[in-house]
Amino acid sequence: MKARVFITLKNGVLDPQGEAIRHALGTLGFAGVAGVRQGKVIDLDLAETDPVKAKAAAAAMCDKLLANTIIENYSVEIL
């Protein structure tokens, strides 16, 4: 079973990388980009076949390692 983890910065956490991307988009002529927030996607290939258990396992992995929950939110999608 495959799970996809999305890791994003919490609201209010400064994202200088997102800001640099926004500037670069402006330079390329993409007008009207008011804000950019960047994050991570992590794909997990799990032996688990029960989607509920797979989701719970991925969430535990986020809490222990994949996300820094002080500054990051995560969400898990079973594919």
């Binding site: 956490v13 200088p16 820094n68 002080i70 500054i71």
Partner: protein, 232 residues
């Protein structure tokens, strides 16, 4: 005083740290590989070096903080052992949950490598007792992810408990915005644990710990450790 330096794949300040510890204590620092499960017996100080452990994958220090040896380091710290984390070592200690807050990408997005002025904000610690009245010191920094971020409550607690060890300052010792190289909250360069026996700092005291290297302000930190243990 018996000290050990933990070595991860990608550590690159481990030998400098060992030299500084050995010079200050007169006893050879031991090198401990990250895959070891236990620390040498009778240790007084564990030092986590700078570098790019595990290529900074996922987040700086995140993988190293889950290495086998770190379980023993956390136990050692919980027993009141002295733990020093420099640069990547600071990131590892935060990821291991031994120090509060978090370290993020420098606000300028640039890797910064230069000498900075630091204010010694407290001499009430085993790492800073020998600085005495010398408030402003020079120590190099070299990092890409050194912006110390903490919420208002944590900042108030760190201030209230006198746990800010070092701040980035100008030559007059003022923590102004221009002296802040990375966007750290409150110009914080180093913090202590609640029991004052764990120090994490982004600047590299081991890189200016010998007059032949252009300065010895960093050596005082290692002398402080030696003092603290001589008294104990």
């Amino acid at each position: 005083m018996k000290s050990a330096v933990i070595v991860f794949p990608g550590s690159n300040c481990d030998r400098d740290l060992a030299v500084a510890l050995t010079q200050a204590t007169g006893r050879q620092a031991e090198m401990v590989w990250h895959k070891d499960a236990t620390l040498p017996d009778g240790l007084d100080v564990v030092a986590i070096p700078g570098g790019f452990s595990f290529g900074d994958y996922l987040r700086c220090g995140a993988i190293a903080a889950r290495a086998p040896i770190m379980r023993s380091v956390v136990e050692f710290a919980k027993r009141g052992g002295l733990v020093l984390g420099v640069c990547n070592g600071f990131q590892v200690l935060i990821e291991a949950g031994l120090l509060p807050g978090t370290l993020m990408r420098n606000q300028t997005l640039k890797f910064v490598c230069r000498d900075v002025n630091l204010a010694v904000e407290t001499t009430d610690s085993p790492f800073t007792n020998a600085y005495g009245n010398r408030r402003v010191i020079t120590v190099p920094i070299a990092h890409h992810d050194g912006a110390y971020i903490a919420d208002a409550e944590l900042l108030a607690r760190l201030r209230g408990e006198d746990r800010i060890a070092f701040r980035y300052v100008n030559a007059r010792g003022e923590p102004v915005a221009e002296a802040n190289p990375n966007g750290s909250a409150d110009n914080i360069a180093g913090v202590l644990s609640a029991n004052r026996r764990i120090l994490g700092m982004m600047p590299h005291p081991e890189r200016l710990a010998d007059r032949q290297l252009g300065g010895a302000d960093g050596a005082v930190l290692f002398e402080s450790l030696s003092n603290a243990l001589a008294v104990a």
